[in-house]
C-alpha cells in the first residue's frame, strides 16, 4: 500500500476512534429528525404546513451536519495537528503534510455524505420526511455547499494559532450562521433583514438551496453563486495562509 493510502486508512481509524465523530454522523441527524417529528405530529398545523416541515427538517439536519463537521470538527483537528507538531513530524518524512490535510478533508466529506444518506433513509422510512424532488439540483447544492463550508473551515484552521482558538473561531462562526441561516427558525419566519443577510452566508445559502431542491424547484442563482464564490475565495485564502508549523 502506498504511503498516501495508508495515511488515509490510519486517519480514518483515528476518526472512528473519536466518539464525537460518531455523534455527528449518526446521533445528531437522527436526533434532529426525531425532535421535529415529535413537534410536528403533536401540532395542529395544517397539512400544507406539515408538508413544508417535511421538506425543511431533512434539509436542515443535513446542513447542520455539514456545518458542524466543517466549522467545528475539521478546523479543531487540523489546528491540533499543527499545535502538537504532528504536521511537522510528517514534514520530516518523505510524505508532505498536505497529504494529511487531504486525508482529513476526504474523511470529513465522506462523513457528511454518510450523514446525508442517513437523513434521507432514516427520515424517509422512520419519520415520513420527504425526499428531494429535484435530484440534480440537490446533488449540485450539496457539492457546492460542502465546498463552501469546508473551505471556510480550512481558513479557520489556517489562521487559528492553536486548537482552542480554532474551536472558538469555529463556534463564533457557527452560532450566527445557525441564526442567520434559518436553522433555528425557518427563513420565512425570520425578520426580512436577518433573512437577507442569511442569503449571503454559506450555511444559509446551502439550506435555502437544499429546501428548494426538496420542493422540486431549481435553487436561486443567488444562493448557488454565493456558495461558489465563498468556496473559491476561501480555498485560495486557505492555501495561501495555511502554515505547517
Amino acid at each position: 500500500m502506498t504511503g498516501r493510502s495508508q495515511l488515509t486508512l490510519v486517519e480514518t481509524k483515528l476518526f472512528l476512534r473519536d466518539p464525537t465523530a460518531v455523534f455527528f454522523v449518526i446521533a445528531l441527524p437522527i436526533m434532529l429528525l426525531e425532535i421535529f417529528h415529535i413537534i410536528t405530529t403533536n401540532s395542529d398545523d395544517t397539512a400544507d404546513q406539515k408538508a413544508a416541515m417535511a421538506a425543511f427538517v431533512p434539509a436542515m439536519a443535513m446542513s447542520m451536519c455539514l456545518t458542524m463537521l466543517s466549522l467545528n470538527l475539521l478546523p479543531t483537528t487540523l489546528a491540533t495537528y499543527r499545535e502538537k507538531g504532528i504536521l511537522r513530524r510528517m514534514a520530516a518524512s518523505p510524505v508532505h503534510p498536505v497529504n494529511l490535510l487531504l486525508a482529513q478533508l476526504v474523511i470529513n466529506l465522506a462523513t457528511a455524505v454518510v450523514a446525508a444518506l442517513l437523513v434521507l433513509g432514516v427520515g424517509r422510512f422512520a419519520f415520513d420526511t420527504a425526499l428531494p424532488e429535484q435530484v440534480p439540483a440537490f446533488l449540485l447544492t450539496f457539492a457546492l455547499g460542502a465546498w463552501a463550508l469546508f473551505s471556510v473551515g480550512l481558513v479557520v484552521a489556517a489562521i487559528a494559532p492553536g486548537s482552542r482558538a480554532a474551536t472558538s473561531i469555529g463556534l463564533s462562526l457557527l452560532f450566527p450562521s445557525l441564526f442567520f441561516g434559518g436553522v433555528f427558525l425557518p427563513k420565512e419566519q425570520l425578520p426580512d433583514a436577518v433573512a437577507r443577510i442569511g442569503d449571503y452566508t454559506p450555511l444559509g445559502a446551502t439550506l435555502q438551496a437544499l429546501r428548494d431542491s426538496w420542493e422540486g424547484q431549481w435553487p436561486q442563482t443567488l444562493h448557488l453563486a454565493v456558495l461558489a464564490a465563498v468556496g473559491a475565495l476561501c480555498s485560495v485564502l486557505a492555501a495561501r495562509l495555511f502554515r505547517w508549523q
Binding site: 502506498t2 495515511l7 490510519v10 483515528l14 507538531g85 504532528i86 513530524r89 520530516a92 518523505p94 510524505v95
Partner: protein, 310 residues
Amino acid sequence: MEEEREGMPVIEVEKLRKTYGDHVAVDDVSFAVEEGEIFGILGPNGAGKTTIVECVEGLRRYDGGKVSVMGLDPHHDKEQLRQRIGIQLQESELPPRLKVWEALQMYSTFYRDPADWRSLITDWGLEKKRDSRFGQLSGGQKQRLSIALALVGNPRIAVFDELTTALDPRARRETWELIERVRAQGVTVLLVTHFMEEAERLCDRIAVIRDGQLAALDTPAGLIAAAESEQRLRFTPSVPLDDSLLTALPEVTSVTRANARVTVTGTENLVYAVVSVLSRHGIVPGELRLEQPTLEDAFVKLTGTAPAAN
C-alpha cells in the same frame, strides 16, 4: 551508487547564515560531519543549535552559505534527502489515539526501502506497548518511539534534537546506550544537546555554538585541553580560616566559600602551596578534593554561560 567512503564528510556546512528580521540566528557557521561519527552540537538554550540542524534537514531555508548532505542540497533535493535522513524533532507528537504499531507501520510505508517495523518494535523495547495509544505512553516510551520512527526509513544519517531533555537521569542513560547502538549499525548521528555529560559521553566531535556562531570545534578531550582551565581545590577546614592566609600565596588566584566549604583555584603547584600553609597553621583540610578541568569548564569558558543543571 554510494560513493562515500569511511571518513568522507556526509554533511558539509559552509558559512551558514540565517536571520529572522534583524536578528541574526546563525552567523558564518562551518563544519563537516564524517560518516559513522556521532557529531554533537552543543550550546546554551537559544544559541541557534536547532536552527542549524533544521537547515541541514531541509526543514528551514537559510539566507547564506551552503549545505550539502550526502551530496544533496537540502532544499532542491528534499525528496531524495527525506528518504535517507531520519529525523527526531524537539517537541513533536503523534495523534493521541494512534497506536504504537500503527505509527511505525504507517511511517514505514512512506519510504522506498524501509526497515522492518516489527523488529524496530522489539529493538526499542516497545513489545508490551505495541497496541497502546500514543497518549498512554510515558515520556521515555514516547522518546523510544520517536527514535524508532526516525530509523524506520533505514536512514544513513539520524538527527536527534534535545533527545533527553524531558527524561529523568536513568531514562537518559538508557537513551545514551540506544544512541550508541544506532551508531554501531553504521548510522551517522547528529546530536543536538545542551547537556555536557551527554556530549562528553557520546560525541566523537563537538561543535560549540554561542550566539549563532561556532565557538569551537574539537573532540571532547581537545575542547577541555584547549580551555586551559585552572586547578581547583575544595576542602572543609578543621578550624575557621582567614582567607588572606590563602590569597597571600602567589599560586592562588581565588578563594570562595559555600557554607563551611572552601574552594581555591590557582596554578600548577596549588596543592603543595595550600596544604603547606594550612599545616603550618595546624589546620587540617577535611574532605580534600582536587578537581581537574571538565568539558563543563571548557563550555563555560567558551560560551560565557553556565550549562544547564543535569
